[in-house]
């Protein structure tokens, strides 16, 4: 071989080796979600351009199947490097998640986020992951029906309804013949929990030992909800029929929808045959809304945990989080404090929900973040359905909830020792 050719090949070979020497592929599991999955991939692409030695293998999974897929991979010893997950499940993996505190100052990292979100992704002193977007529950209403019935929704915080006023308003609108349903209400523990918190109650006591400690508040919430179902203000196809609230609201014959800000994108972008708006949740003893959101986290025994941590911390920069949320168009909320996100056309709709979120005490998130709550969600929902359909008295429901909750808390407290 000619010497110059040899040199050329040597240089080519060495640079090739140098290029591939540090290339790592991160396996990332994303949740199927028409609004977010493409934007997340766009950001991943941007990260790749800034960090060419990292490559990503993206897999999108339906959120109903994420635990099945994730648990299988984890138990078989092949955890993905990064996972997108919701508040419902993140605490399940608290013990196995990668502690981001090992890579940065955890206090400083936590300070970036709203206090109401911190309980979701912390466990003790461990920082489990990075919030990417936030959600809050909220109340939607059908403007056309409300105008026709001449009922006014609260326009500012001084006009916020009490529970009774809320009930009255819906009942009045329902008198219209074209209004076939009252409040389209998702049949889930989380959606119902808003009432519990508004009554001043909670699922698990502050010390984590007892279930539904505030018996009176719990009873008030149960009785109130039962009265809504009984008077058909909440349709039976929602409770216990479990029809999706969004579906029911989009028919245009429902007065209101008790759901959350994630509905905004399809309502605004997809369009509705009627004009709709959002308003404040009614006030029980206090004002409250359930926060939620999605997170990225990694595993302790992931083979590429250092690169994963690097990516997570990149996303945790305020500029990147803001970039992501604004790329989404602004339908999802910012989990960060002091971050001015431009919510665009959603700003007006998000205003009441943000106000509710601000008024929500911090212990609501602590309560929602408890793992026991998620493990028991089907059993709790069953009890709530029995109470709502009048098959059980509120007192009996509380007894049952207390029993099944205490059992679960006892065994989970034992396991943690």
């Amino acid at each position: 071989m000619k010497p110059s050719l040899f040199r050329l090949l040597l240089v080519a070979g060495l640079s090739f080796l140098a290029g591939t020497a540090h290339a790592r592929t991160l396996n990332i599991l994303l949740l199927a979600n028409a609004s977010t999955q493409d934007v997340i991939q766009k950001l991943i692409h941007e990260y790749k351009q800034q960090n060419p030695e990292t490559d990503f293998n993206i897999s999108i999974v339906q959120s109903n199947s994420i635990t099945a897929k994730l648990n299988t991979l984890v138990t078989a010893g092949q955890p993905p490097d990064i996972v997108e997950i919701t508040t419902a499940y993140i605490q399940n993996y608290a013990a196995q998640a990668l502690d981001l505190g090992k890579y940065t100052n955890s206090q400083e990292l936590l300070q970036r986020y709203l206090p109401s979100y911190r309980p979701f992704f912390t466990s003790g002193n461990k920082v489990l992951g990075v919030p990417i977007e936030a959600t809050a529950n909220g109340l939607f209403y059908n403007k056309r029906l409300f105008q026709k019935a001449r009922v006014q929704v609260p326009r500012n915080e001084s006009e916020i309804w009490t529970w009774d006023q809320f009930k009255q308003a819906v009942a009045t609108v329902m008198r219209l013949p074209e209004c076939r349903m009252g409040v389209a209400y998702d049949c889930s523990v989380q959606r119902w929990s808003n009432l519990l918190y508004q009554a001043g109650g909670r699922w698990i006591s502050a010390d984590g030992r007892s279930f539904v400690p505030e018996k009176i508040a719990t009873e008030q919430a149960l009785v109130f909800f039962r009265s809504l179902v009984e008077t058909k203000l909440v349709p039976t196809s929602a409770w216990p029929g479990k029809t999706d609230a969004g579906q029911l609201f989009k028919t245009g014959v429902a007065a209101m929808m008790w759901s959350g800000n994630w509905q905004l994108k399809s309502l605004v972008d997809g369009g509705t045959a009627f004009e709709f708006g959002t308003t404040y949740f009614p006030k029980g003893k206090i004002r409250a809304t359930c926060p939620g959101g999605e997170f990225f986290f990694s595993f302790e025994n992931s083979p590429n945990k250092d690169d994963a941590a690097k990516f997570l911390l990149w996303w945790a920069q305020p500029a990147i989080t803001q970039h992501y949320l604004e790329s989404l168009g602004g339908s999802l909320l910012s989990p960060m404090s002091n971050l001015k996100v431009n919510y665009g056309k959603y700003t007006l709709y998000l205003a009441p929900m943000l106000s509710d979120l601000n008024a929500t005490p911090d212990w609501v998130s602590v309560d929602l973040a408890r793992p026991a709550l998620n493990l028991l969600q089907n059993d709790i929902l069953n009890e709530l359905i029995l109470s709502a359909s009048g098959r059980e008295s509120a007192k009996q429901t509380i007894l049952n909830l207390d029993r099944l909750g205490s059992e679960a808390l006892r065994s989970s407290n034992q396991a943690q020792r």
Binding site: T72, A76, A273
Partner: protein
């Protein structure tokens, strides 16, 4: 006339499907309106456009087709062989083996996802298409179907062939397999349907987007809190069509009296 009745009953039966098909051709916002908008305007192809925009549909279709076709072939061959053995031979352990085969039907895959994944991991079949072709191919239902059908084949045919000195393999190839055509067609159609519609297996096995099947991609339209109903219905209708084509192609094998006619008196 009976023919007219057949079509009418069929159309009534298909009510929900007709709703789904009709909804697929309307914009998403009209989907759940009340009262249902039955007018002919408002026809729109946007849902179908959204389907093709949702990902590499051609590739997913190719994967699904490959998996379903090969797996069905394996199923027909393996089941007819096993059915032949169980129906026309007496050998020690026959009943036990049949019961064991049947017993495997009783194990829901949901519960055994982890052990199955470990087996596939050992074989190196994780994230490979072969991992969704071979494992589900040995369906006990197929074996059962073939066993029952082959029992209906008169022994005289086989006796006659044996007297002529044919080996068991020849008997299988030249007598059993052709006579099994109706049941093979049924099994082929059903197996193709199953593999085409498999969701749990691909969920466990596949990690790379480019090895996705149509069902995995369709399922992803069920988002975290909201569902893309319009796109989903359009997708579901499209995914339906290849299976129906397979059905139409194979059902001509259900010819009346074909098997019985082979025995004269």
């Amino acid at each position: 006339m009976h023919d007219v009745a057949a079509v009418v009953v069929c159309l009534i039966f298909l009510g929900p499907v007709l709703w789904a098909a009709y909804s697929a051709f309307r914009p998403s916002r009209d989907l759940f309106t009340f009262p249902p908008n039955l007018s002919l305007n408002g026809f729109s192809l946007q849902n179908f456009q959204a389907v093709f925009a949702s990902g590499d549909v051609a590739r997913y279709a190719f994967n699904s087709l490959l998996v379903a076709a090969i797996s069905s072939l394996i199923t027909i061959i393996a089941s007819s062989m096993a059915g032949f053995a169980l129906a026309k031979f007496k050998f020690p352990g026959r009943n036990l083996i049949f019961l064991v085969i049947l017993a495997t039907l009783l194990i829901p895959l949901q519960v055994l996802m982890v052990p199955v994944f470990l087996v596939l991991k050992t074989l190196g079949w994780v994230n490979q298409l072969i991992g969704i072709i071979v494992p589900p191919a040995a369906t006990p239902t197929g074996t059962f179907m073939m066993r029952q059908f082959i029992r209906g084949i008169p022994d005289e045919l086989i006796e006659a062939a044996r007297l002529d000195g044919a080996s068991d393999w020849k008997i299988y190839r030249h007598i059993i397999l052709p006579l099994c055509a109706p049941m093979s067609a049924a099994l082929g159609i059903i197996s193709f349907t199953w593999r085409w519609n498999d969701y749990l297996w691909p969920l466990i096995v596949v990690n790379n987007q480019d090895k996705f099947t149509l069902q995995l991609s369709l399922a992803n339209l069920v988002g975290t809190n909201t569902v893309e109903w319009g796109t989903l219905l359009a997708y579901a209708i499209l995914v339906l069509i290849p299976v129906l084509i397979v059905f139409l192609l194979f059902q001509r094998l259900f010819l009346k009296g074909q098997v019985g006619a082979a025995v004269k008196g």
